[in-house]
Symmetry: C2
Subunit: 691 residues, 2 copies
Amino acid sequence: MDTSEKILRQAFAEKQSAVEAQGHAVRALKAAGAAKPEIDAAIESLNGLKLEKASIERQLQAAIGGGDGSLNRETFRQAVVNTLERRLFYIPSFKIYRGVAGLYDYGPPGCAVKSNVLAFWRQHFVLEENMLEVDCPCVTPEVVLKASGHVDKFTDLMVKDEKTGTCYRADHLLKDFCNEKLQKDLSISPEKAAELRHVLAVLDDLSSEQLGAKIKEYGITAPDTKNPLSDPYPFNLMFQTSIGPSGLSPGYMRPETAQGIFVNFKDLYYYNGNKLPFAAAQIGQAFRNEISPRQGLLRVREFTLAEIEHFVDPENKSHPKFSEVANLEFLMFPREEQMSGHSAKRIPLGEAVSRGIVNNETLGYFIGRVYLFLTRLGIDKDRLRFRQHLANEMAHYAADCWDAEIECSYGWIECVGIADRSAYDLRAHSEKSGVALVAQEKFLEPREVEKLVINPVKKELGLAFKGNQRMVVEALEAMNEKEALEMKATLESKEESPFYVCTLGKNVTIKKNMVTISKEIKKEHQRVFTPSVIEPSFGIGRIIFCLFEHSFYTRPSKAGDEQLNVFRFPPLVAPIKCTVFPLVQQQQYEEVAKVISQSLTTAGISHKIDITGTSIGKRYARTDELGVPFAITVDSASSVTIRERDSKDQVRVNVGEAALVVKEVTDGRQTWADVWSTFPHHSAGSAEADE
Amino acid sequence: MDTSEKILRQAFAEKQSAVEAQGHAVRALKAAGAAKPEIDAAIESLNGLKLEKASIERQLQAAIGGGDGSLNRETFRQAVVNTLERRLFYIPSFKIYRGVAGLYDYGPPGCAVKSNVLAFWRQHFVLEENMLEVDCPCVTPEVVLKASGHVDKFTDLMVKDEKTGTCYRADHLLKDFCNEKLQKDLSISPEKAAELRHVLAVLDDLSSEQLGAKIKEYGITAPDTKNPLSDPYPFNLMFQTSIGPSGLSPGYMRPETAQGIFVNFKDLYYYNGNKLPFAAAQIGQAFRNEISPRQGLLRVREFTLAEIEHFVDPENKSHPKFSEVANLEFLMFPREEQMSGHSAKRIPLGEAVSRGIVNNETLGYFIGRVYLFLTRLGIDKDRLRFRQHLANEMAHYAADCWDAEIECSYGWIECVGIADRSAYDLRAHSEKSGVALVAQEKFLEPREVEKLVINPVKKELGLAFKGNQRMVVEALEAMNEKEALEMKATLESKEESPFYVCTLGKNVTIKKNMVTISKEIKKEHQRVFTPSVIEPSFGIGRIIFCLFEHSFYTRPSKAGDEQLNVFRFPPLVAPIKCTVFPLVQQQQYEEVAKVISQSLTTAGISHKIDITGTSIGKRYARTDELGVPFAITVDSASSVTIRERDSKDQVRVNVGEAALVVKEVTDGRQTWADVWSTFPHHSAGSAEADE
């Protein structure tokens, strides 16, 4: 809570007490039958206090941002979403059956935007970086997701309405309660406000018990019915199913695409000539059975992920192409800045890596590539930041993790996660499958290496532990260097050592004759190791939603009587690149339009021809609303005009050249400025008059 | 069964009897102590008969194709599949966990082929035909698939090993039994063979009881254990799951993508300006929980479908672009030809439509477009046929249906279904959802229309049928014109009429006072109707597998000591368009290679650079096996050679031109013949010597 808010809350509480006290005083005077001037003076004083309270209230509301700001964001979002749904960019799935929460269809323009975004992703990442793209099934057997930890840990805490059985996410209810209290209840004390803010900050870390206790303490009830709620309990977010007819093979719809790559590591490493580093990539559907989906396209039950798994030697995370991105400078929000309450700031990427803010060059390289990818799509660079995970957000095995967050009407939204996951995933699948997922580095000449050698003496262990011998042997062999050296010291000093065997779940006593621990010099010809993996993971639907918001604007119609909607998509993203309009319904113009349409098809330019008699202005407005960047208007048999969406500028081009000019700008080989400086300008004459 | 086979089976059976009789005679002579010359003569005769029997056996085996032919097909398939799996075109999913039947991953080259096929599909169908592409979720609520009929009818009949519980498809077991018997048991009578062939022909029509009876009659047991089998029972092929946390909303993974389009008909029709015809399209995953998947990529549990739903006025199924495909001529296999035992024959498409073999122009147009699509991908036109469904194969509502079948080592495989599904799907969803999925045709002037009016007299019906009144009323109202006019006549002549009410499952008696049936003249301003839908549905994985087989060939290495594998993919399909090889490891060459690689990246040409010291011949062979059409070999600083995969011809091109030349041929703007006639030929000198 910043200082001004704290002071204002304090002042508001004091003023509130003063108002109450003065009100009490007025009533007392009246009851005591005091003189009218005396009563009037007291009332005047009361009114003065009320005015002061109201003034503080306004300042406080402004300080906590619960007022006009969020209202504007809601209004803006509603305008965007209305346009998107009306023009079928996306629609709730199965609408005629009243839909299913968290499932959306992309209609024609949305589907085109999505396929453009994915095609660019393939070009920008897979093709330019020579990644190995794979395509694995969504249906996944349990054993794979058991190894990855999803079966046991991919859960959210849920509470149930004790009477109706309706389910809610426990943390959402608590979060909503705290936010509502902070924004709407101005009478809470600064201490209470600080407490609520603290709850919000640690929300992700609360255990099931802690969440339950807070819900009880605050008296939170079911939002719709006000019924009491159950204690929180974990709900696994994977859609479960059964593979084959026997009912004996549980399976899940994958919650991410990454596991399909990890289990193929061995083959992919071989395909890459047994060389590191290399990256594999996958685009595909992922599924999360959200408890109560909300925020439209941002939290859905089925979505498209595009994931990269870049495998690298943990001892060498440099990247040969890092210099190509080192000079990029954009908003970064390192852990330190977040902890000390500062905001994101522009840092050159090279500096972030050299100063150790970003853990390594490869991670830095991908951060830079993600920045280029998002901004080229049309994401506003001032509303894009890379936020480092705090220690409590990161998985225990992760070396470093940055989220590309995009600001939209819902706040800052995680759209791409870029994590150095160390060797965790490959190790987990190695252990579970028994197949070694490792890489080798062959030495030019053999190296002498000091190695720890643990030799369990099986005869002695067998005598001591009988049937448990195997478990003890395995546990001894699995000790890391530190544990082994400690045991060695204990055995030498005390002849025996207590030793915890996790597969037995208890301590046993190891005697000196049961194991030899020593360091030996060995000659090694190669190093065998589990590669680290750096994983940029893209939520395509979230990126697209933010892109919609960043691209949307309105401008007055020519007559000034209404606001027209425009999406300023770059040609790369635009669902249709060009429209072809005969200015008026006339056979000659329509034939020219058809010829141009054929050239556009041949050139692979998606376009739409509109021969309705609607006014040209209306036709422009309709396609501006779809974000179509160029319109070719046929107003003669020999030449046509090409109009650019945002400037509304028009040039005049020969019929035969029109398709080519559009192709050059949509393919990015020319800019509109190039076109503008090459061709004669068409003044807002007949064609524009109508607009 | 063709005549020669019948005669041969007869002859074989007779010869078999003769051998047995003669053997018996020999034994009798020996037992009777006959003279040696007599016995020798009998033995000689026996051996003669055995030779004759062996000769007939060979002819019979050749006639039924169970001999070398299928062996060759198996060997060929094994060679293709070995190459595909070794080069990671595809691999069994989750291999390190011993895999899951019916699930496959596409590795890097397979994934690239798939994405090329899909990109071309989008260009050939969506873009060129201005289709409305949509993208709907895989998770589908039960109500949708209840309406479509999948919940009740999307089943296969299954039998269980009564001891182990292992499940099998009942029809597969019966089919395998019949085929095995026909191909391997030469002693069966021609009558028995005819019976088995009949069973194979009607296999798809057998009821659960009939299948069970045949399995019992033939004594078929579980293939692995020889245990007895259960009676057949239906198993629903959809993967079931549960949407949301309550467990109260059953859902399924969609078995096809089409339903997502049907439920959006209303919005899509509006998006298209309330005009027919229009087509919507969708590419996406579909899921079928096969009982026992086999045939590799052909029968899998998760696959990519590309589907088109072309909505059209049932009274006008002409197509404006039909003339563009009318002259195509390819293998068609109409119903009549199949019934009369003929084979597929080449028919011009225009003729097939004008003669009514193909039901309508729109269906014909799509058949033509599918032919062009498949052959441009590289499917051999002589191993592609369009087979019309027999009456018993077609859904009752379908107007006509043709499968594009491709011949591969498994036989003729359905890869694309092109069906005129009439108004079935839209009607089903209209009824279930209560939302009218209809189109309107506005008349220029109002039309007088004679309309059948059925007015049930509810009072009389209520008195007669009490609680069943509603069912009777609905059944009366649902009569078609023919039924209603028949009832009218019966009521007029006999005062009453028997009437079957399907919702009651019985006949009731309708009296004359219970309903009025009349024809009235009405003025209508528009016609409201449910559009017909013509659905081309593409199994992408099946097409790709057939493409792999049709593209594969082997040729001897230069030294002649081994057979090298080649995929003759057209550039459109090839996973990588070009490789770049420095002839020898030399810094100067490597730098040139990098410059060319950068130009190729800029031009969007997927390629691979290989700077290993491996011999150039080996490097060519490696990439021929991936189907890479062109190789640029750097053997000087100023010019390079470009080699074409199938001819192994090479031309010499300047360094700066190389990327452009490759782009022109891979984009299809030039052919290799053009390149060959433009640039100087490079004789098999240093670069080729090694090959």
